[in-house]
């Protein structure tokens, strides 16, 4: 059994280094490990590379939202679990109190055609406003720095950077209330053939994820408690670990995580979102869920 288990070691391609945002994921991995899952992970510099490594077969399970890749490469890559929703926070100086106030105002975004750009588009269309000049500064940290240095008054940040800027300069900046988006920010995906060949393992993994997400929804502090002190998260600097509870409390409250692993609802939202953002050709009606999601493991876990 041991040789079989070793042969089936799941290789996971992360799209970023382990940090607070991945704590829940690693807790799930540990739970899965207790149930007999053997895994190893590699952190890639960006999502592109993580997707490519799965496409190329060097990695089994990837981390990201590979919609464009799935459509373009026609590779049998499918999403199996939604890890987090697209939650971005419009952060502004105290000058603005509502998204509507941003009408006609300049805003700083990640890059043209990138995720924050599409969020800005959606904000415009949902609220019927027109944002002012868009300047682009890639990298959340750089936007935080630019904000603190006073070079911009409004930007869009992810949860963790939003928390950081508020922690650094809460007196000057705040996050504006934002409507909910169900589309995925991060999802787990893999090669369908591989998933089918290793369905036992995948099932254990998805089950573990689901259980962690559900437990976390009840009590966000389990993440901090269950984190393996010798694992990649446990080794993070104490300053980061100290903020885990706060982060997950916020995240759960903010609806970052779906307790049902996304599934069909997420798939629909994604197709809508990513075709809107220009990464997918076609519309929700013409796109086929089966081309993007492989739902069997999630369905099995939900039972």
């Amino acid at each position: 059994a041991s040789t079989a288990a070793q042969a089936a070691t799941i290789k996971i391609a992360l799209a970023e280094t382990p940090s607070d945002e991945l704590a829940a994921f690693f807790v799930a991995l540990d739970r899965a490990k207790a149930n007999g899952l053997d895994y190893e992970w590699t952190a890639f510099a960006d999502e592109e590379l993580a997707i490519q490594s799965v496409l190329g077969g060097q990695m089994d399970i990837g981390f990201g939202t590979p919609y464009a890749a799935m459509q373009r490469s026609k590779a049998p890559i499918r999403i199996i679990y939604q890890l987090s929703k697209l939650k971005f926070f419009p952060v502004t100086t105290m000058k603005y109190n509502d998204l509507k106030d941003l009408d006609g105002e300049p805003i700083m975004l990640h890059s043209r055609g990138g995720g924050t750009d599409s969020i800005a588009n959606v904000i415009e269309s949902k609220l019927g406003i027109k944002l002012g000049e868009r300047s682009y500064v890639p990298g959340s940290q750089n936007r935080v720095v630019a904000m603190i240095a006073g070079q911009a008054e409004a930007t869009i940040l992810d949860l963790s950077n939003k928390n950081k800027i508020i922690a650094q300069a809460g007196d000057k900046f705040h996050a504006l209330p934002m409507f909910d988006v169900d589309a995925s920010d991060e999802a787990l995906f893999g090669n369908v053939d591989w998933i089918k060949d290793n369905s036992d393992q995948v099932d254990i993994f998805v089950k573990a994820l689901l259980s962690v997400y559900r437990d976390m929804a009840k009590d966000p502090t389990i993440i901090r408690r269950e984190t393996n002190p010798d694992g990649p998260i446990g080794q993070l600097p104490p300053e980061v670990l100290a903020e885990l509870d706060g982060f997950y409390a916020d995240a759960v409250a903010g609806g970052l995580y779906d307790t049902n692993g996304g599934g069909r609802k997420a798939a629909k939202a994604d197709m809508e979102w990513y075709s809107g953002a220009g990464q997918l050709d076609g519309t929700v009606d013409t796109l086929n869920i089966e081309d993007f999601w492989y739902l069997a493991p999630l369905d099995a876990a939900m039972q």
Binding site: E16, T17, S19, D20, T42, A43, F44, A45, L49, Q52, S53, G56, Q58, S140, Q141, V144, V145, I148, A149, S160, K164, Q168, Q235, L236, P237, E239, V240
Partner: protein
């Protein structure tokens, strides 16, 4: 550098710069630059952690292999390019292309050819170090006094013997200058290598600390790198000084 007749160690000006850093940090102009002393304290804590030690050993390994490869490949390549028109005309366009290609353009190729582990990091490190080594060795060799080469040939030196008994030594001052700069560049190269495809080693620490705004930690890691760069630069200048006796008398 002499002050009042005392010879100051070569890098002693760093103390001055550290003081300046401390002052800027103390002024708390920006959270981005913590005081030097804070960074040192953090560093002391940091070096005791397993994560740091692992990162250090990974980084040092990739760094030294990358440097070793660049030196072993770069010096002969540069010498041969400086010596032979055919090779130079074949290789120089490649060198020009490679030095002007942004690394991001090569990522897909690197990843497929070398995977996403240590090999890619080593290659990246070498890509940072090797060009200046090649170019300087080439320039050094093109200036060699022809009589020396003829002399060696007339006493029966084969191409290989001439290579390491004449070309290498005659161009050594230039070669060492190139190696010194190449090694300093490689310090940056190894970090970029660790960030380029998969994130490991010091690259991972960088990424982590900067994305979490742990500036003291961030600067502590940078400080380790700078120390590495200075130590190596100083060692190679020491070697350069050893050949200085003939560098100006050729």
């Amino acid at each position: 550098m002499f002050i009042l007749g005392y010879k100051l160690p070569a890098m002693s000006s760093l103390i001055l710069w550290a003081l300046l850093w401390e002052a800027i940090g103390r002024l708390e102009l920006t959270f981005f630059v913590p005081a030097f002393s804070t960074v040192i304290m953090t560093l002391i804590e940091l070096v005791q952690t397993k994560v740091f030690q692992k990162a250090l050993s990974e980084t040092a390994y990739a760094f030294s292999v990358g440097i070793g490869a660049s030196v072993l490949i770069g010096i002969p390549t540069g010498i041969l390019m400086g010596k032979s028109r055919l090779l130079d005309e074949m290789l120089l366009p490649w060198v020009n292309i490679f030095i002007s290609a942004p690394l991001t353009a090569l990522v897909p190729v690197l990843m497929v050819l070398f995977g996403f582990g240590t090999k890619t990091i080593i290659i990246t490190t070498a890509l940072f170090a090797i060009w200046i080594i090649i170019l300087n060795a080439r320039a050094g060799v093109m200036q060699i006094n022809r009589s020396l080469v003829e002399m060696a040939r007339s006493f029966g030196a084969g191409p290989f013997t001439a290579f390491y008994k004449i070309y290498f030594w005659a161009a050594l001052p230039e070669i060492l200058g190139g190696v010194r700069i190449g090694v300093i560049r490689a310090v940056k190269g190894v970090i970029i290598g660790q960030l380029l495809v998969s994130i490991v080693g010091f690259g991972a620490l960088f990424e982590l600390y900067s994305s979490n705004f742990l500036m003291a930690h961030f600067w502590a890691v940078l400080l380790v790198l700078f120390t590495l760069a200075f130590a190596i630069a100083e060692f190679l200048s020491f070697l350069e000084r050893k050949v200085a006796f003939y560098a100006t008398k050729r």
